[in-house]
């Protein structure tokens, strides 16, 4: 499977993300000769345990369960437990089962959607982050994928240099912020060098964490 890095938009202190920035970023993708290929959408759901009153030991259940559906794997659903560093893959019908079981309830869902661009052997996905609660733009996410190889280690130099090229292009537009790539410690999740959708799922979990963290600091500042 091709290797991928997921980056998120980190606004400068004091500024917020808006659709103007999203437009500029999309134009950036086209400026480096990216060819618009189609739309994409991923969904991340934050699940909280549905505790009943007679539950004696609420501590047994992880307080937070993340579920992700990815566009490349329409028949799969991925769960991430960030505390114990667990990621698993399940059939997409698990969502129906969860609904029926009522063991976990969806607290908030984030939608990542936008356009994808082809750039030779690279594929770029620019997406806005919108929550299920409101229509406001919560953030911008960028997926950079190098198609020919599936080894994280071999691709890291290539992806790194591509991101540098990308950052240079974005810098020219003098936008209030920049893209950041915090590489999560994938080996802690038991993930190896060969790229898998689970790698993507974990990266999204971290992006979500970053988004909430930056927004809470915004809220505090405001």
């Amino acid at each position: 499977m091709p290797t991928k890095w997921v980056l998120h938009w980190h606004p400068n202190p004091g500024s917020t993300v808006n659709s103007q920035i999203l437009n500029e970023v999309s134009q950036c993708a086209e400026a480096i000769n990216g060819v618009k290929d189609g739309r994409w959408k991923a969904t991340l759901t934050l699940l909280k345990p549905n505790l009943r009153e007679d539950q004696s030991q609420p501590g047994e259940y992880p307080r937070e369960l993340l579920g992700i559906s990815l566009p490349e794997q329409p028949n799969k659903y991925y769960f991430i437990l960030r505390g114990p560093r667990i990621v698993t893959e399940a059939d997409s019908s698990i969502q129906v089962i969860m609904e029926k079981l009522q063991s976990y309830k969806s607290r908030i869902a984030l939608y990542f959607e936008g356009y994808q661009y082809q750039l030779g052997d690279f594929q770029l996905r620019v997406g806005k982050v919108v929550s299920s609660h409101s229509e406001n733009l919560r953030g911008i996410v960028l997926e950079v994928e190098y198609l020919p190889i599936s080894s994280m280690e071999k691709a890291s130099q290539v992806l790194g240099e591509f991101v540098d090229i990308w950052q240079e292009a974005v810098l020219k537009r003098s936008l209030p912020g920049s893209f950041m790539h915090n590489e999560p410690n994938l080996s802690e999740y038991g993930l190896g060098d060969n790229y898998t959708p689970q790698h993507t799922a974990v990266q999204y979990a971290y992006v979500m964490a970053q988004l909430f963290a930056s927004q809470s600091t915004q809220a505090v500042r405001n």
Partner: protein
């Protein structure tokens, strides 16, 4: 008197004073039918053709004689009209009359002979000739050709020969420029002295080293040497059918990874099992060599004829690609490997030019230099990625130099060590835009 008299030939005419008009082609006799078997033994068509040609030539000479005779008669008559030496004129006229009759008689004979063999009419054309030869044809304008269609061809060939030669020359020049640019450089590039000197100097050790490389008698020899020199390469040989099976069974990048590794492992173990007692036999009939560096690339080299050490095509693919299109003349779905394949084709031609016995050895070593494809920065601009101007794809350095690629002797600690290690110089890596043909 500049008017040339026309003398039509009529075989039945016997009267002298009448000026006889003469044509180049004697009129065909409507009444006489050629008796094909009359007085002629069955001769082979080539002999018939030769005879017919002879007779036609004879007829032409006789016709010329008659013409000259006619001229002389005219002259004599004119002279007779002018002067009054009637006796001399009379003698002259009688002499001319006799020779003229003789000529006409001969012509009549030849004509009859030709008609009998069917030269002057169409009777032979319809008859199939078992030797496929046609009786010579006398064309309307008098030219004689041995085969009817030869004239048409001659005309066409003449006109198109120049054009075809021009096109062929152009095609060859293009191919030469594309595949053998160094040949052009050597002949034209006299101005850049350091370059050409460098070329000469570095080629000198090569020719002496060729002997020291030893004999590569078989693919197994080459591969054994290669595996010794390049530590982490995976090389396998196949017969063509087996390779096709393997290529089709390779998982393509969309598949689940969990399926991939056990399948590959089982295939490798299967290959090893098969290769046990029959390893020597398999490599003798090998026509495909697979070189793979896990996670980097997979290269396919085809040998022609099978079992020889002559490479004839090479192609690069992603390690995750799979499908029946993966063969030495196939094309990867990724830009980076397509570019390398194209460049490797030129490299292959270069190595074949260096020496046919060592071409495979050099080629395989050069292929192995691509193991640093995604890590080695360009030797010219120092960066890993660059955009290709033509396709606007962003690519790593896909071109490795091959002109200066040959083994150098590593300095060994012992002075009289018999086994001198020969290691290939690591070639420079270049982006498409950074690469020049002299490298």
């Amino acid at each position: 008197m500049d008017v040339k008299p026309n003398f039509p030939m009529q075989f039945q005419q016997q009267q002298l004073p009448q000026l006889q008009q003469q044509q180049q082609q004697p009129e065909p006799q409507a009444a006489s039918t050629p008796s094909t078997s009359a007085g002629q033994p069955a001769e082979a068509p080539p002999k018939q053709v030769a005879l017919a040609m002879d007779r036609l030539a004879q007829a032409a000479r006789l016709i010329a004689d008659v013409r000259i005779g006619g001229d002389r008669l005219l002259e004599a008559l004119f002279f007779a009209a002018q002067s009054h030496q009637s006796n001399k004129t009379l003698q002259f006229l009688l002499k001319e009359d006799a020779s003229m009759r003789q000529h006409l008689q001969d012509l009549r004979t030849v004509g009859r002979q030709l008609e009998e063999t069917g030269v002057l009419n169409d009777s032979m054309k319809s008859r199939g000739n078992s030797w496929g030869l046609h009786i010579p044809l006398v064309c309307p304008d008098g030219a004689v050709v041995a085969y009817a269609w030869k004239r048409q061809l001659a005309g066409q060939a003449g006109a198109s020969a120049v054009d075809r030669t021009r096109l062929a020359l152009k095609a060859f020049a293009d191919q030469k420029r594309r595949f053998f640019p160094h040949l052009e450089d050597e002949s034209e590039d006299q101005s850049t002295e350091p370059g050409s000197k460098k070329l000469c100097r570095r080629q000198a050790p090569l020719t002496s080293q060729l002997d020291e490389l030893g004999d590569f008698k078989s693919v197994a020899d080459v591969l054994a040497r290669l595996e010794k020199e390049v530590p982490n390469v995976k090389v396998l040989t196949y017969q063509r059918r087996d390779w096709l099976k393997r290529a089709s069974s390779l998982p393509s990048s969309g598949n689940e990874n969990s399926i991939e590794s056990p399948k590959e492992q089982s295939f490798h173990s299967l290959n090893k099992m098969r290769a046990g007692p029959q390893a020597a036999v398999a490599s003798e009939r090998a026509s495909v060599i697979e070189i793979s560096f896990p996670c980097t690339f997979r290269a396919v080299v085809s040998l022609h004829p099978a079992g020889s050490i002559d490479p004839d095509a090479v192609a690069f693919f992603s390690p995750d690609e799979g499908g029946s299109y993966m063969h030495a003349r196939g094309s990867s779905i990724y830009h980076v490997f397509r570019q390398i394949t194209e460049h490797a084709g030129i490299g292959l031609q270069h190595f074949l030019g260096v020496g046919s016995e060592i071409a495979l050895y050099f080629l395989l070593n050069w292929i192995c230099s691509y193991q640093t494809l995604f890590t080695k920065v360009c030797s010219k601009c120092g960066k890993l990625l660059a955009a290709d101007r033509k396709s606007s794809a962003i690519l790593p350095p896909v071109r490795r130099s091959f002109r200066q690629f040959y083994p150098v002797r590593e300095s060994s600690a012992e002075a009289n060590s018999s086994t001198k290690d020969q290691v290939f110089e690591i070639p420079g890596a270049y982006h498409i835009g950074c690469y020049t043909d002299e490298l």
